[in-house]
Amino acid sequence: MTISVYIPLLVTIVLAVLAPRAARRPAPRAAAWALACTALVTAVGWLGSLALLAFTGFAQIPQVAEEGHWSAAALRTEDPVSLSVAAVSALALAAGLASLGVAAARQVRHVVWARRECGRMPGDMELAVIDDEVPQAFALPGAPGRIVVSRGMLRCLGDLEREALLAHERAHLRSRHHVFQAVWRLTAAANPLLRPLAGAGAFVLERWADEEAAARVGSRTVVARAVGRAALAAAGAARPAALAATGGAVPQRVRALLAPPPAPRTLPFVAGALLLTLCCGGLASAASDSENLVDSAERAQCAADAGAQGAADVGVRGVAWTGHRPQRPHDACCGHHGPGDQEGHRR
């Protein structure tokens, strides 16, 4: 337990550092899926490990041990999780869960808002054109989603580039990229270490849509030109400063499109899969260790109780504390020890 409970935490840190870098080179569709799996598994591993650490630490507090009818001393000797480690874990866990709750509520609000906005856009078809000079284009997820493009954007693109733009936004909607984004957003809320994954993920989704568009129009150069021209046109127009957040992504996309298509790579995926397996294994082993530990601490407590009981029986009979706990031969709890048995014992 002492080692295995830290494995998911370690794997999370390693992947939070390596995965965003590794995800930029392979084919974007596979990279997006890999990043989503990484975010989900490590977030569960992270929260699970924190919960186990907090639990084993707090289980050693005598009052808690008394409530749970296990031996604090037995726990302490077998698995020394210091109270400060437990307290930090509990705090991190509480903060992670609270922030996850807030992020989930916000996400739901955004999805509801986007769906309503889909209905309010002009027309009832896939494409909604906004009669506006400022070049803008985005996909609004919904059921079905809408592609929203301004007149200014359409005017600054050539015929093939216009098709590339539509194919790009269509790829976002059709492959449900907003679900990927939600996964990264929520997992980053639960564990701030995973934030770089969300950043890399956003880039990978754009690359994915670029590659789909390139396959659709049959030319990577056309898509590169569409992306570049749209970005330059949008930069030329007056834009609110609040949006200046993701610099550098557009030139990278254009560069990737002007280069040959990404070659299939297996090494990063295999390494990632191994690390995620390790994370799951660590968590499972820590959980089962922790369960065994509590079981044995319960047996230790029971044996101690039985010893004390014997002593009490010799001395004063019928002391108050025997009242709330039925007198039982100690083999009922200290010997073979099924779940039903435990239930009866605790009642």
Partner: protein
């Protein structure tokens, strides 16, 4: 990437393709300076479409009140229904100015460029980018 779209046949694929064609035709009309005939729309749409397909889509969009038309020769020239005065553009600006919070659900085609990005882009696109030249009439 190409194998991903092999399952697009069938009636669902047909419906989807029709929706995509409508988008393409509407985008062509919005990008043009003046009303276009079906023939002109066909010329600006990539891929080899049938003239009648374009006609069908144009009349469907006209029925949906997305387009206006006036007679030219034996046919019509089509233009999108402008709504500059409407709330939609204003609405979109306020939507986009909400900042990163609402950005959460939007997938923008392009993000903001820094000064260096802009220079880098010009260099990357090199001689290829000479303004929207291939869009002329």
């Amino acid at each position: 990437m190409r194998d991903g779209r092999s399952g697009e046949s069938g009636s669902a694929g047909g419906r989807r393709a029709r929706g995509e064609l409508e988008s393409g035709v509407l985008a062509v009309l919005w990008s043009a300076e003046e009303p276009l005939t079906a023939r002109q729309v066909l010329e600006r749409l990539p891929g080899d479409l049938a003239y009648t397909t374009v006609l069908t889509i144009l009349s469907r969009l006209y029925d949906k009140a997305m387009l206006v038309r006036h007679p030219v020769g034996r046919g019509y020239a089509y233009a999108p229904v402008r709504d500059e005065a409407s709330q939609t553009a204003v609405q979109m600006h306020s939507l986009l100015e909400r900042g990163s919070d609402r950005e959460a659900v939007l997938s923008r085609f392009v993000s903001e460029l820094s000064q260096e990005d802009e220079q880098l882009l010009h260099r990357l696109l090199g001689g290829q980018d000479a303004g929207p030249g291939d869009d002329g009439p």
